[in-house]
């Protein structure tokens, strides 16, 4: 039976993924076994991580509800664009978002310029409030998409029933919308919470100090500056436990997907009245400005600073591509191999228990006795990003794979197509769309990654995100703005190229 050889492949991939996740984590556990290595500052980091993640998630979801509601019940020109733009933060590198926020909310930013004539002091961006602000900026759109999906999924029959019974608006809210929110909001909260617990770029640039250090950042400091590997490993272990608990909670709540799904139709829910319309308009305009202004600031600031674009940008851009393309290819190849069965998919979800710095620390501990960490910075970054992107790629690809198997699997088997032909002629062409989307997301995530690379790379070995961060840290803000623009362009170009390729399916 030819099938024997086929089943062997995915099992090997599953084992490889498990080894790639559990190997570094084992190295972390062996080295950081004793929690005694943790200093009081590290417990403060854990508390801050939990607190800022909880506040960021709560604010993101609270603000997302009115935005999603306004989007759900209004039709206006530019609505499609608004919804599309809520997808942008998936691909916007964290460090670029920080650049934009600094340009708008920083000491000499646009907001400070507006406040000064009123005699008001400039806002203070650095510290806990900056970390939360950045997390809300990055995750509000995700929460909006998830909750908007919830509105779109309200069965039309239920709205028709409400209309037939002539329920007043308050009753519609109570019987239709609140039950939906009760189902969707916890999942959205936990998803954002999980993302915020592993935040590194934001904490590195806007946080820091005893009051605003996350566990990820503490790992980085312990290894990079204090060279205290035992403490770094113990912190990485704490991070893994945190991720595992949050991922388990997210899994139990079945986090709604913000990535795909029809966000088009919720027409039946359109209330009348100028007051409500004004309210929705105000919500949408404020949210739109909050999300668009920092991006506009990156574009404007970067364009103005292009004349001082540092030469280091081009080699850094080349390194970024060297990281992003293989990482995306590996993540998607792994997702394809693991998409065929439930147990294999479980293996593909293992990376959710890890964070970039935890995996990076484990690999650092493995590599350090053998080789110069800086020499393997790029391969390690490729591996870490491929592993971390795998669950996302799998989530995009597995449902489509199951659909193809259900619709055409029997036909392929009845014709006796050999496995290679099934892959080439059936699975790959039918999955082209999710494959394109997954490649685009994985490439953009890897291009924007500032985790493993910061741990491993030395001066002169930067990728674009690391270059932007180091220029910022050196207060070369113009050069950083120019480099951030190049990074944003690279990320968006990678995403758009792969996604367009995928959309040409069935053309």
């Amino acid at each position: 039976m030819a099938a024997g050889g086929v089943r062997w492949g995915p099992a090997a991939v599953a084992a490889l993924v498990a080894a790639a996740v559990l190997g570094p984590l084992a190295a972390v556990a062996l080295r950081g076994g004793e929690v005694a290595a943790l200093a009081p500052a590290d417990w403060a980091a854990l508390r801050f991580t939990l607190a800022q993640a909880a506040v960021s998630a709560a604010l993101s979801v609270l603000l997302a509800v009115p935005v999603a509601r306004a989007l759900a019940r209004r039709r206006f020109p530019g609505r499609g664009l608004f919804v599309t733009l809520t997808g942008a933060p998936f691909i916007l590198p964290g460090i670029v978002a920080v650049m934009g926020l600094v340009a708008v909310f920083g000491r000499s930013g646009w907001l400070a310029a507006g406040l000064a004539p009123l005699g008001l002091p400039p806002p203070r961006l650095y510290g806990a409030q900056g970390v939360v602000l950045a997390h809300v900026f990055l995750n509000l759109p995700l929460a909006v998409r998830m909750i908007l999906n919830g509105w779109a999924a309200i069965p039309g029959e239920r709205l028709r029933l409400a209309a037939a019974l002539d329920l007043p608006p308050g009753a519609v809210v109570r019987h239709v919308e609140v039950p939906m929110l009760r189902a969707v909001v916890p999942g959205a909260f936990v998803a954002v919470f999980l993302i915020c617990t592993t935040s590194f770029a934001v904490a590195l640039t806007l946080g820091g100090g005893p009051a605003a250090t996350t566990v990820e950042l503490a790992v980085f400091h312990a290894i990079r500056f204090e060279f205290d590997l035992a403490r770094g490993a113990a912190l990485a272990g704490v991070q893994v436990m945190l991720c595992t608990a949050a991922a388990a909670a997210a899994g139990a709540l079945a986090a709604p997907s913000g990535l795909a799904g029809g966000l088009g139709r919720v027409a039946a829910l359109r209330p009348r009245g100028a007051w409500l319309a004004a309210q929705d308009a105000a919500v949408l305009v404020s949210a739109g400005l909050f999300l668009a202004l920092p991006i506009a600031a990156v574009l404007a600031g970067g364009a103005a600073a292009l004349p001082v674009l540092p030469d280091a940008v081009w080699p850094a851009a080349a390194r970024t591509l060297v990281v992003a393309l293989p990482s995306a290819a590996l993540a998607v190849a792994g997702a394809l191999a693991l998409s065929g069965g439930r147990r294999r998919q479980a293996a593909g979800m293992l990376p959710l228990a890890a964070s970039p710095l935890a995996l990076g620390t484990g690999l650092f501990l493995i590599v350090f006795p053998l080789a110069d960490p800086a020499a393997v910075a790029l391969p390690v970054t490729v591996a870490v990003n491929a592993i971390l992107a795998l669950p996302f790629a799998l989530r995009l690809i597995a449902p489509a794979r199951a659909e193809v198997a259900a619709a055409e699997g029997r036909l392929a088997r009845s014709l006796g197509l050999p496995p290679a032909a099934v892959w080439r002629l059936v699975i790959l062409p039918r999955l082209r769309r999710p494959i394109g989307l997954a490649l685009g997301l994985a490439a953009a995530l890897a291009a924007g990654d500032l985790g493993a690379i910061a741990l491993f790379a030395r001066e002169g070995g930067e990728t674009l995100p690391l270059l932007v961060q180091r220029l910022m840290a050196a207060y070369r803000m113009e050069a950083a703005a120019a480099a951030a623009l190049v990074l944003a362009a690279v990320s968006f170009a990678l995403f758009a190229a792969f996604d367009l390729w995928g959309r040409r399916a069935d053309a």
Binding site: R410, L415, G416, L417, R430
Partner: protein, 232 residues
């Protein structure tokens, strides 16, 4: 000779048994109420439904160890008989070369098969541009290209109107005769069964009865069949 030897299927609370044989080249109809197991019986012969007991043999050889694609069987399902992203010609080409490496000779055979089912010139269309009847014809054309001695039809024309269905069944008869294939047709419609089949097997209450002569069976149906047919 296709032999169902003390064959038993069990799935959850569902059970079906059969113990009979039909000769090569015969035309058999399976009729019976929904959920009786007509499609499941076809799936078992095609290799998609594992057996709880007994064997299915073709010319004395047990089909049990064979994957669906290795069995001497072509099957047309109710739907999804064509890959929607491949052209009609490519769908037919899969019967000639599963990797679609097709030479000029192959292309000529595909064109001839399409002509034979009245779809000449439609080879470059995607299945989505074909009507339901045309999709059925295209699937039959693929059967023509790789004739196998057993042809199973799981109500592939159920969605067509009566006139079109009669045309399709006539085409199936012609295709089966050309290939010399044993043909088993699942249908709800006694008229289809009478028109198409020499023998009819009634599937009811967990049992697939042995095929009986169509004319005689319908002339004097046993009580359960009479009830199904709505005759007192």
């Amino acid at each position: 000779m296709l032999t169902l030897e003390a064959m038993r299927i069990e799935a959850g609370g569902f059970r079906l048994a059969a113990d009979w044989a039909v000769p090569a080249g015969a035309r058999v109809a399976l009729i019976g109420p929904s959920g009786a197991g007509k499609s499941t019986l076809l799936a078992a012969i095609a290799g998609f439904q594992p057996l709880a007991g007994g064997r299915i043999l073709w010319q004395g050889a047990d089909l049990g160890p064979l994957d669906p694609g290795r069995r001497p069987v072509s099957i047309l399902f109710q739907d999804n008989n064509l890959f929607p992203h491949l052209t009609v010609a490519q769908n037919l080409g899969l019967a000639l070369n599963p990797h679609l490496r097709l030479g000029p000779g192959d292309r000529a055979r595909i064109a001839a098969a399409l002509d034979r089912v009245g779809l000449g010139g439609r080879g470059d269309d995607r299945p989505g541009r074909l009507s339901g009847g045309e999709q059925g014809r295209a699937a039959l054309a693929r059967v023509l290209l790789r004739p196998r001695p057993v042809l199973l039809l799981d109500e592939p024309f159920a969605a067509l109107g009566p006139g079109l269905r009669a045309d399709m069944l006539a085409l199936v008869r012609a295709v089966a005769a050309e290939a010399g294939a044993l043909t088993i047709l699942v249908t709800h419609d006694p008229a289809d069964a009478r028109r198409f089949a020499q023998t009819v097997a009634f599937v009811h209450a967990g049992l697939a009865h042995p095929p009986a002569d169509a004319a005689a069976l319908f002339a004097a149906p046993p009580p359960a069949l009479a009830a199904y047919l709505g005759r007192e």
